[in-house]
């Protein structure tokens, strides 16, 4: 049977890839199996006893997927999930293969898949989800995705084609996601944040998609939470933020240690920090609500949550504390910087910028990040990554005194350690593959686990 052959070939590829130490085998097995049976993902996810949830958006996919996985696993469910950021259709396929038995059948209850924005139509078609979550749409990797508008249209078409009875769960606070949802034939469930205390008054430089879809006027914001996400309306009354059915209120931010919030009657305390994680929590909570999961139970699971690779991962090294924070685009970087500087009191940094395919080969976006926040507050900043020299220029024009740029991750770490006193905490804010590089170096030195074990 073709399906069984595909599963066996894929599984063998994954085992070889891990054995050879070339990484976690997070996507290659998917390529191999799909070459043998192109419908393999459709067949495997069809075996799930409960169904699938797809999560897309620029930022927060991995954390939201992990939150939902933890909720289902706590209920004794077997969950298939494409971890480690392998979010193209091949990564989803590889994840399903890992849980497939020798007979080629998938033995699991739930599929929780994070899906790259551009891959959503194909994922919807093959996986036939019960819930599709859209977290946000920020400017990201223009070299690969093209313009935001194209991505938005792709997502809209994909959401129109989710199966009958399936539910779209959308971020009401994101104007571009709002525009998508208000155009859908079926009413989505909206989630959002309602807390004027944590809001900014003004849009940051990284903001985009700020005009009314009907009349083209610039949107008016009464609150800005993150990037262009907030409470908005068209000054001519043509368009406004939908009222969220599931909202986070009374938010308590504690640096990178935790974020607390009320969702309805439930108090949720998440042991990772930042307002962006409040969005991930309320998105997961909203999806759970659709499925009738008890709120108090979800809060308990979220309280015991552990972060994914490089997402506020904390480790000790030589008497110092390291916090690794993935920061991959302007909206994300601004938030991790704000959390680090304003709330965690961070003073020692490695900032890592790579320009590989997974990071985006165009690094011009660093000029939309407010590195000015570091001026006069950061004591040590080491620019790192393949484009460390670009970061050094950016920091100079932000008025931030930086160490010399280091393109080798080992040298960046050595330089940081040489100027970070024992007992101090250093923050490592990096793009995706820059984080992989730094982390690989930490693994090599025995300070961190390989990422496919996390």
């Amino acid at each position: 049977m073709r399906r069984t052959a595909a599963v066996w070939a894929g599984k063998a590829t994954g085992a070889l890839s891990r054995l050879s130490g070339r990484g976690g085998g997070t996507t290659l097995p998917g390529d191999v199996a799909r070459a043998i049976d192109p419908t393999i993902l459709r067949k495997l996810t069809g075996d799930l006893t409960e169904g699938s949830i797809l999560i897309t958006g620029t930022n927060g996919k991995t954390t939201t997927a992990r939150l939902l996985t933890s909720i289902f696993e706590g209920m004794g469910k077997r969950v298939v999930s494409n971890r480690a950021g392998a979010n193209l259709i091949f990564g989803a396929t590889a994840a399903a293969l890992r849980s497939a038995g020798p007979d080629g059948k998938l033995r699991a209850d739930w599929g929780v898949f994070e899906i790259d924005e551009a891959s959503l139509p194909r994922a919807v078609e093959e996986i036939q989800p019960r819930i599709a979550i859209v977290l946000n749409l920020f400017r990201d990797q223009l070299d690969r995705y093209g313009e935001l508008e194209k991505i938005a249209k792709t997502i809209e078409a994909a959401l129109e084609s989710i199966p009958e009875g399936a539910q779209a769960v959308l971020n009401a606070d994101d104007p571009r996601v709002g525009e998508i949802g208000l155009g859908l034939a079926r009413t989505p469930l909206w989630f959002g944040i309602e807390d004027p205390v944590v809001a900014m008054r003004k849009l940051p430089h990284a903001a985009d998609a700020r005009t009314c879809p009907k009349c083209g006027a610039s949107l008016r914001f009464s609150a800005v939470y993150l990037g262009h996400d907030g409470i908005y309306e068209c000054p001519n009354g043509d368009f406004a933020r939908p009222s969220p059915g599931v909202a986070a209120t009374d938010i308590a931010l504690q640096g990178f240690d935790s974020v607390g919030m009320n969702i309805g009657e439930t108090r949720v305390e998440l042991p990772v920090g930042g307002l962006y994680n409040a969005y991930n929590a309320v998105a997961a909570f909203a999806a759970g609500t659709v499925l009738g999961v008890d709120g108090q139970y979800m809060a308990e699971r979220m309280h015991g949550f552990t972060a994914a690779f490089g997402r506020q991962e904390k480790m000790d090294f030589r008497g110092r504390r390291l916090v690794l924070v993935l920061s991959k685009n302007p909206a994300g970087f601004n938030e991790t910087l704000r959390t680090a500087v304003d709330m965690a009191g961070a003073t020692h940094f490695i900032l890592g910028l790579n320009d590989r395919k997974a990071d985006g080969t165009d690094v011009s976006w660093i000029w939309d990040v407010d590195f000015e926040q570091l001026a006069g507050r950061a004591q040590v900043v080491v620019p790192a990554g393949t484009r460390a020299h670009d970061l050094a220029v950016r920091l100079k024009y932000a008025g931030v005194e930086a160490r010399p740029p280091q393109t080798e991750p080992g040298r960046a770490l050595d330089d940081l350690i040489s100027v970070t006193p024992e007992g101090a905490t250093a923050h490592i804010l990096c793009t995706y593959t820059a984080m992989l590089d730094i982390r690989a170096e930490l693994v090599r030195r025995g300070w961190a686990k390989p990422y496919w074990e996390t």
Binding site: D208, R210, D362, V363, I366, V393
Partner: protein, 253 residues
């Protein structure tokens, strides 16, 4: 020196809508480099409906936008900005236009279906839609006088093909990348005080010599021709890194 004379003004055309490729880097570079020379530097936002103060602008910046945003600025550009912009340029103001802004300053943009959208014709260039998008690092040997180093580096991401008329000369010859149209080896254009280009990345931070060229040219109309030298070692190290890294792309020259 009078207060007004010491002032340096950057006019940012549609900062909220035409700002897709980190164009703020160009603004920051112009402002900081003027400030470091003791000038009182400021940027004014020239969004939709705004034309106030355009006569005082030393350097205009016009960046790129998405199709949706480009459509939104189109009427305003022709109805509100064209006249004062032409007047300022005639008076010696300088313009840097990147990508979408570059196209809109030319004669027209012609879509794949043959429909023509007229630009404001400030520069003698025309643009036609192309199929393949040109994306990647670019290195240009510039023909601008007295520029050291003689290279410009940046990143391009465009599908429009721009062709120069007799009134415009190229900003440079492409060494790596596609440039104006991927065919004739030219990149960007220079016509009087207007510089158009497809290079972002942002352009000016890694090309401080071009930033100073624009500042100097704008100030010269006010009789201030000299700019004190700055330590550009960080900027030029980043510039050199691109020269070293940029490789001709597969399938191109």
């Amino acid at each position: 020196m009078t207060k007004k004379k010491n002032r340096f003004t950057v006019g940012w055309l549609y900062p909220d809508l035409m700002n897709i490729y980190g164009d703020r880097g160009n603004i920051l570079t112009l402002l900081k480099r003027a400030e470091w020379r003791g000038l009182d530097a400021r940027a004014i936002d020239l969004g939709r409906g705004a034309a106030h103060g355009m006569e005082d602008v030393d350097v205009f910046f016009f960046g790129g936008g998405q199709d949706r945003e480009q459509a939104l600025v189109y009427d305003d550009l022709i109805e509100i900005k064209q006249e004062p912009l032409e007047a300022a340029v005639a008076n010696g103001s300088v313009v840097l236009a990147v990508c979408g802004g570059y196209q809109l300053l030319g004669h027209y943009y012609q879509t794949a279906e043959g429909e023509r959208f007229p630009g404001i014709g400030l520069i003698d260039v025309r643009t036609e839609a192309g199929k393949k998008r040109f994306i990647g690092d670019v290195v240009v040997d510039t023909t601008l006088e007295d520029l050291k180093p003689t290279t410009l580096v940046g990143f391009e991401n465009h599908s429009g093909r721009t062709f120069l008329g007799a009134g415009a000369r190229a900003l440079g010859r492409v060494r790596v990348g596609s440039g104006n149209n991927g065919g004739d080896g030219t990149e960007g254009c220079v016509q009087g005080g207007v510089v158009g280009t497809y290079l972002h990345g942002s352009l000016l931070p890694k090309n401080p010599h071009l930033a100073d060229y624009l500042i100097r040219r704008a100030l010269s109309r006010r009789g201030m021709a000299e700019l004190a030298p700055l330590d550009d070692s960080i900027e030029l190290a980043a510039h050199a890194k691109i020269l070293e890294r940029a490789q001709p792309r597969a399938g191109e020259r």
